[in-house]
């Protein structure tokens, strides 16, 4: 990690996108961009990899389906196969339509909740977490870009930022 970072503030998301593209063209690495709202295409412009959250959700759904199937099979068929209102409890398949609502809901429940928890864990979000906000204005109407710099390239990067419409550029020590 570099010891110093540049904080560049932008007032408009279009200008921010231009600056991101210009920096990426010159092969400088952008550490982080703080935005008050999602900027469409920013992740692509920064070259970030695609999220795999949907894949995890699919797998969690399969787990939920398995849990529901195992649970209903154990309770209703294996453990105590009672005759309840004439429903066939001889095998799982024979009574399956009655279990489908449970199987469906458990699949959705697992897929949704475990995916959300995965999201929290991966993005390190929890109650009482200390907010990592370099500038309070970024939650309102300003965009902030953080770039690691060293003695050799600080001037060049600052110039690129300036040319691409940065409203403020600050050199600060990296914590």
């Amino acid at each position: 990690m570099a010891s110093k970072v540049l904080h560049a503030i932008f007032t408009d998301d279009d200008i921010l996108m231009q600056a991101v593209k210009a920096l990426r063209e010159k092969k400088y690495t952008i550490n982080e961009v703080f935005c008050p709202f999602p900027v469409h295409g920013l992740d692509k412009a920064m070259g970030m990899p695609h999220t795999r959250l949907a894949i995890t959700s699919f797998l969690y759904g399969l787990v939920g389906l398995a849990v529901a199937t195992w649970m209903m099979n154990f309770i209703m068929i294996e453990d105590w196969p009672q005759n309840i209102g004439g429903k066939p409890s001889f095998s799982y398949l024979e009574n399956m339509p009655a279990f489908v609502p449970i199987m469906f809901e458990m699949t959705v429940f697992f897929a949704a909740h475990l995916m959300v928890i995965t999201f929290y864990m991966r993005s390190k979000l929890w109650p009482f977490k200390k907010a990592e906000n370099p500038d309070v204005r970024t939650t309102d109407d300003k965009f902030l870009m953080e770039i690691s710099v060293n003695e050799a390239n600080v001037q060049a990067i600052a110039e690129v930022l300036h040319e691409n419409g940065a409203a403020e550029i600050k050199l600060i020590d990296n914590k």
Binding site: A54, F58, G86, P97, A98, V100, P101
Partner: protein, 434 residues
């Protein structure tokens, strides 16, 4: 401007001719009298020899029962070629209707992604006229007692059946034909007007035409949902006259919509592959594939809701519908769920797959096949019962109607530029990106 290739013309003509020959063979092959069936049964027993002794003695002890059995079988076999042509005629007509409904939905919802596909939808909707005539002819032939598809049309059956007698206020031949005429003429008129306005807009942008199409589409959708529901009672549910289901109209609607969107996707991919639709990008295909998957799941939801409620309560007057299907059509009955829900869902759940043409085509063929079989399972048990078979009459009548459909659709596609001009949402649609 698209011109129909000679290959497509030849292909559809071959389908029509081969299909027509097969269908004629199906009608010739069907027994023409009860006596013929009795003879057939007799020969069958003779050839089986000792194996069917028990059955034979059963027949001998109860001659009257044997006659009834032969007559029952005669009706089923006599119905076979009729039902074989009725299923694809209805299915493919409803596909073109579904495409037009989807088109009206895009107009009414002022969708920004779909105007580049409007001409494809208009082309497919052009089958409404020949398809409607064929379906109506089949209904007239049924009401002339040339076949036994609709059991309530037979006055002898109704005379001995109190349940049907109580339904004759709705289920009587003249009213049935009048209703059918209203549905078909209504759908065709709406399609003619809306498509005519869309063609007129090519000459120059006119907000009046745009607004008129918006209003017409909204009116059509209201008209459609009422007539579609009644159509499904009349043309499909009344085959099993003793049975009724309240969500049947929705169930048929789901089948129509998913087949329609699939057909739009297949025709679009074909035309794009031939280089006619450069402005269609893979985001448009992605959207169509999303609709294919969504409506597939909607279909499965209704299929299961109808099945679960009847299976769970198991009331004898309702459950016979499923009992006959589970007994005589188990493979098709559950096979449609695999084809129409499990496979499309697993294939099209991936966002990247929905952009790949061959995967969408593969899923589309599965969906169309599955929904043909869905109509097959809805219509066959009440008309041919356990005598069903997917043989020459079934396959050839599907070929005949499919050939006619392909010819009509591609012929209509050649009649107007493949992209609308001056549509209010055209620019947005051209740059649609998801």
């Amino acid at each position: 401007m698209y011109t129909m290739s000679s290959k497509i013309k030849l292909f559809s003509l071959i389908l029509i001719i081969v299909g027509a020959i097969g269908l004629v063979y199906g009608f010739i092959d069907a027994p023409s009298s009860v006596e013929e069936v009795k003879e057939m049964l007799h020969n069958d027993h003779a050839s089986h020899g000792g194996e069917s002794v028990a059955m034979e003695s059963g027949h001998a002890s109860e001659e009257a029962h044997g006659d009834e059995h032969a007559e029952h079988l005669y009706h089923q076999l006599h119905n076979k070629p009729w039902a074989a042509i009725y299923v694809p005629a209805l299915f493919i007509f409803l596909i073109s209707l579904g495409v037009f409904v989807f088109y009206a939905l895009q107009n009414a919802a002022q969708a920004g992604w779909s105007p580049v596909l409007f001409r494809v939808m208009e082309g497919i909707a052009s089958y409404l006229v020949p398809g409607g005539i064929i379906v109506y002819l089949l209904l007239i032939l049924s009401s002339l007692h040339l076949n036994h598809l609709f059991v309530w049309m037979d006055p002898e059956v109704v005379a001995h059946d109190e349940i049907i007698q109580n339904k004759t206020a709705y289920l009587n031949t003249p009213f049935f034909l009048i209703r059918a005429a209203i549905y078909i003429v209504g759908w065709i008129l709406f399609s003619k007007f809306i498509i005519k306005n869309s063609r007129k807009m090519d000459d120059g942008f006119d907000l009046k035409l745009h607004k008129r199409n918006f209003k017409l589409s909204a009116m059509f959708l209201v008209f459609f949902i009422v007539t579609e529901s009644m159509m499904s009672w009349d043309w499909i549910m009344s085959i099993d006259t003793h049975w009724f289901s309240t969500l049947f109209g929705w169930f048929v609607l789901a089948s129509i919509l998913v087949s329609a969107v699939t057909t739009i996707a297949l025709v679009t991919i074909y035309l794009k592959g031939k280089g006619y639709l450069e402005i269609v990008n893979n985001s448009h295909i992605h959207d169509l594939a999303k609709f294919m998957m969504g409506f597939s799941i909607f279909w499965a939801y209704l299929w299961f809701s109808q099945f679960l409620l009847i299976w769970y309560s198991n009331i004898p007057e309702e459950v016979t519908y499923y009992a006959s299907r589970l007994e005589d059509y188990p493979l098709l009955f559950f096979g449609t769920v695999i084809l129409n829900w499990v496979l499309p869902m697993l294939i099209l759940i991936n966002s990247d797959f929905k952009r790949i043409n061959w995967i969408v085509v593969f899923a589309g063929i599965i969906i169309l096949l599955g929904h043909y079989l869905n109509f097959f399972v809805m219509i066959m048990p009440g008309t041919v019962g356990e005598s069903w078979f997917i043989g020459i009459p079934e396959i050839s009548s599907l070929m005949l109607i499919a050939g006619l459909f392909i010819y009509t659709v591609f012929n209509a596609l050649a009649k107007a530029p493949l992209t609308v001009k001056n549509n209010a949402f055209l620019e947005e649609s051209k740059h649609f990106h998801y």
